[in-house]
Amino acid sequence: MTEASPTLAGRIMPVLTVLLAIVVIWYLAAVWMNAPWVRDQAARADAVLTTDDLVRQTLTLERPVLPAPHQVAAGLWDGITGQAITSKRSLVWHGWITLSATLAGFAIGTAAGILLAVGIVHNRAMDQSVMPWAVASQTVPILAIAPMVIVVMASAGVTGLLPKAIIAAWLSFFPVLVGMVKGLRTPDAMQLDLMHSWNASGSQRFWHLRLPNSLPYLFASLKVAIAAALVGTIVGELPAGATAGLGARLLSGSYYGQTVQIWAALFAAAILAAALVMLIGWIESLTLRRMGLAR
């Protein structure tokens, strides 16, 4: 019943196939969604359009409704390699600014989430009081209070990376909290009874039973949390004066209707997130293998 883990090719082939399918659909969608504009323009100019013209024009618009994949790729490529990485037009530069705040926020959020979860599992007063309010905290629309957070912190003299990181932490602590509470509570009754029979102390129970038991949950949560931290940072970048970072890129692209720039920034952000998630996945498989949990 043991399933051989797929080879590298076995892992990449499916992804490529699905990707190919997506790109094809994307091209079709681009033609379809951009066509009305191209037709309107032709009508305004009293020109006649052949199908060939239509397709060519829909895929090369400067302000497409949906940019074609190659346009986004070109935008990305230009943003990443076309500039010195210290240039303000470089996606690497903006990516780095976003990344640093994301990591800081992720660290704060994860620490807060784990600490709260430990508190909830070990302290009944916390168990009964914190969780409903943690849920409530997540329903507060951060984009709405982000500007206030930034303003309040700025008036307290805190600027730069920290306000963004705090917004990122706000979003990322919740998945960690939920996952860790669940994880710390999974040990089955017999395993807990065993610990009980050895009169293990609370901290021993934690380190030897609850924590190892919760690791799979923790890693799953961390993956969600790091993506959330990235979103938080980007949200925090909007009102932070929209000066730098992928969020500012998105916004200014949006502001000037530069669809290609939006999509390039969007993809840069997603690539960053995917890379971070993969990094955590890698740490996870390493840890679980060392613990003998990966079968």
């Binding site: 490529l16 196939t17 849920v135 997540q138 998945p175 993956k223 969600v224």
Partner: protein, 280 residues
């Protein structure tokens, strides 16, 4: 020392809660949560008053309460527009689509291996980037908000559901094999029930995501109602009590939403170890 009464209230409330929590009945549990919340509100009010925080930065809870009472009609319209039309529809469509997709790709490891990494990638697309695009595609009204919510909740639920469908223990699967259970039977009778704890994990996390998505999407274009619209407009008018009133409604609605899903989870997954006190 102006901080002294604040600390005193905090400690007092904490002590009361620590004492109450020892009884652990339904009533005391509710009381503990309420006292915790009340403490935060009281501390908030005290801080705002003692330190004379300008109301355009942080209004006191009492003023927020007054604003709620004054603006019930507006709050209700916004609630219907954003939560019922935007968030709830989007969440339902997204969840159903994700569950259906998970089941559809469940049989094909090829599709799973191809789709999930890309799914993770799409899930990581920041909402602030997607929202303007979807508003451009689906128009200004709640449909575009629902679309944003669909995109936001789809992959978390999909990923959880796929993990859940795979989360049966070997002996349970072997049993199905010994009965030569056809695919549909093992899906309905084994994998779907076993996936429920995971599915609900996804559903719970996405309740809050749905709210955030619907509200944030309104920042990128909306009709002249909705919670996101009201918040951004009210900030511009420095009507901070109204902003917080909307936030309050969002928080209550979100907690209720989460609570209802958690309640259904309890009913559906009563058998799961995390839902019962079991024995060795």
């Amino acid at each position: 020392m102006s901080a002294l009464p604040i600390i005193a209230v905090w400690l007092g409330a904490w002590g009361l809660n620590a004492w109450l929590s020892r009884f652990d009945t339904r009533a005391t549990r509710l009381a503990v949560a309420l006292i915790f919340g009340a403490t935060i509100l009281i501390l908030w009010e005290m801080i705002v008053r003692i330190h004379a925080v300008p109301p355009v930065i942080l209004p006191a809870p009492s003023r927020i309460g007054a604003s709620v009472a004054q603006n019930t009609a507006i709050l209700w319209t916004d609630f219907v527009q954003t939560i019922l039309k935007g968030a709830l529809t989007g969440w339902l469509i997204g969840a159903l689509a994700a569950i259906a997709t998970a089941i559809a790709i469940d049989r094909s490891p090829f599709l799973q291996r191809g789709l999930l990494p890309i799914g993770n990638f799409v899930a990581a697309l920041p909402i602030v980037g997607i929202a303007p695009i979807l508003v451009m595609w689906f128009g200004f009204d709640w449909q575009s908000k629902a679309a944003v919510v669909v995109v936001m909740v789809f992959f978390p639920i999909l990923v959880n559901m796929v993990a859940g469908l795979a989360a049966t223990d070997p002996m349970q699967r072997d049993l199905m094999a010994t009965w030569a259970a056809p695919y549909r039977a093992s899906l309905w009778k084994l994998r779907l029930p076993a996936a429920m704890p995971f599915l609900f994990n996804g559903l719970k996390i996405t309740t809050t995501l749905a709210l955030i998505g619907a509200i944030v999407a309104e920042f990128f274009g909306s009709p002249t109602r909705g919670m996101g619209f009201r918040i951004s407009t009210a900030v511009g008018r420095l009507d901070l009590p109204l902003v917080w009133a909307e936030i309050l409604v969002a928080a209550i609605a979100g907690s209720l939403f989460y609570g209802i899903v958690a309640l259904i989870e309890k009913k559906v997954t009563f058998w799961h170890p995390s839902q019962r006190r079991q024995r060795g």
